[in-house]
C-alpha cells in the first residue's frame, strides 16, 4: 500500500493530537489490573475518569486510579458523570482541573434523569458556555441533534459527542442518519459517545465519518475485556480506513464479480 493511499491525519482535539481514534473509560472493571490491561490493549491515548468524594474512612495508602493509569502516559479526560445540572458540572470540572494540575480538557455531560441518563441539553449548553469562558477545552456529550451540535460548536466546544444510544445500553448506533446530519456540518471533531455494544458498532461509527469513538462498558462488560479491547482497536481502525477508502455504491441488482466471458459453457 502506498503512503498516498494510507494518508490520514491524526485526531486533533483542542490542539492536542492523538494517535488513536478510540477513547476509553476506566469504569466497571473488576479491578485495576484488568482496567490497565484492557486500556493498554485498546491502544487508546485518551482515558476518561470520574471525579468523586474521597472515601475518608478508607486506607489513604490504597492504590489510586491515577497511579495505575498515569497522566504522564495517557491524556486523562475527567467527566462530569452523575451531574444533573450545570452548576454541579462546572464545579466538578474545576475540581478536576485542580486534581490534574491545571489540565483543562474535560468531558462535559449533564444528565436529564437517572432512568435514561439522556443529556439535559439546556443545562449542557449553559455549563459549556461557563466552562469555555473559564478557559476549559470542552468535549461535550450531547443528544444527536444537529442544531444543538452547531450551537455547541459556535460557542467554542472542542468536540461534539453525540450518543449512539443510551449510556451503558450496548444498543449500538440507533441513529446513523442523524449522526450523518451532524457530521455534514461539523468543523470540530465528532465522536460517538455512549451506546457502543460491540466492534461492528464502533466500525459503523467510523465508516459514517466520525472522528472517533468513546466507549467504556462495551469493553469492561465483555466477558473477556482485554480481547474486546483489541477488537475495538481494530474496529475503529478498520472503520476509519473504510471511510477514507470511500465504499462502493449500494445497488439494487446483482453485478457479477467474475468475468462473464470465456465460460466453458459457451
Amino acid at each position: 500500500m502506498t503512503d498516498m493511499q494510507r494518508m490520514d491525519v491524526p485526531l486533533t482535539v483542542a490542539g492536542r493530537t492523538f494517535s488513536s481514534r478510540l477513547l476509553v473509560g476506566t469504569g466497571k472493571y473488576r479491578d485495576f489490573d484488568e482496567a490497565r490491561a484492557a486500556i493498554e490493549e485498546s491502544g487508546a491515548d485518551v482515558v476518561t475518569v470520574a471525579v468523586r468524594r474521597s472515601n475518608l474512612g478508607q486506607d489513604p495508602d490504597a492504590p489510586n486510579l491515577l497511579d495505575v493509569i498515569s497522566p504522564t502516559r495517557y491524556t486523562i479526560l475527567p467527566n462530569t458523570a452523575g451531574c444533573f445540572n450545570a452548576r454541579d458540572a462546572v464545579r466538578t470540572c474545576q475540581l478536576a482541573r485542580e486534581l490534574l494540575d491545571g489540565h483543562n480538557l474535560v468531558k462535559l455531560e449533564v444528565l436529564g434523569d437517572q432512568k435514561t441518563l439522556y443529556p439535559n441539553v439546556m443545562e449542557t449548553l449553559s455549563a459549556a458556555r461557563t466552562l469555555i469562558d473559564d478557559g476549559f477545552d470542552v468535549m461535550v456529550y450531547t443528544s444527536d441533534d444537529p442544531i444543538v451540535a452547531q450551537e455547541l460548536e459556535s460557542m467554542g466546544a472542542s468536540a461534539i459527542m453525540p450518543l449512539g444510544s443510551l449510556i451503558g445500553s450496548g444498543q449500538g448506533l440507533l441513529n446513523p442518519d442523524t449522526l450523518a446530519l451532524i457530521l455534514e456540518h461539523a468543523r470540530v471533531p465528532v465522536l460517538v459517545d455512549a451506546g457502543i455494544g460491540t466492534a461492528s458498532d464502533a466500525a459503523l461509527a467510523m465508516e459514517l465519518g466520525c472522528d472517533g469513538v468513546l466507549l467504556n462498558s462495551a469493553i469492561a462488560h465483555a466477558k473477556q475485556p482485554v480481547l474486546m479491547a483489541r477488537a475495538m482497536k481494530r474496529a475503529v481502525e478498520a472503520g476509519r480506513d473504510a471511510y477514507l477508502a470511500e465504499r462502493m455504491p449500494r445497488r439494487q441488482e446483482a453485478r457479477a464479480s467474475s468475468p462473464t466471458r470465456g465460460l466453458i459453457t459457451e
Binding site: 473509560g25 476506566t26 469504569g27 466497571k28 472493571y29 482496567a35 476518561t48 475518569v49 470520574a50 471525579v51 468523586r52 468524594r53 474521597s54 475518608l56 489513604p60 495508602d61 489510586n64 486510579l65 491515577l66 486523562i76 475527567p78 467527566n79 458523570a81 464545579r91 474545576q94 475540581l95 478536576a96 482541573r97 485542580e98 486534581l99 490534574l100 449510556i167 451503558g168 468513546l214 466507549l215 467504556n216 462498558s217
Partner: protein, 66 residues
Amino acid sequence: MHVLLNGESRQFDDIKTVAELVERLGLAGKRIAVEHNEMIVPRSRHAETELSDNDRIEIVHAIGGG
C-alpha cells in the same frame, strides 16, 4: 472545630488550615482536590487557607468512569 466534610458533619481539634486538615486525614501528597465553601483551593494555597467553624469542605479524587 466543626466542618461539613464531604457532606458529613465532622469535629476536628487543633486544626486551623486546609493543609492541616489534609494532613490529619492522611491525604498529604495524595492526588486530591479540595473545595472550601465551593471555591477551589489550589494545592499551593492549602497552608494559607484558614478554616472557620461550619465551613464546607469537599475532597475529591479520580475514580473509574466512562
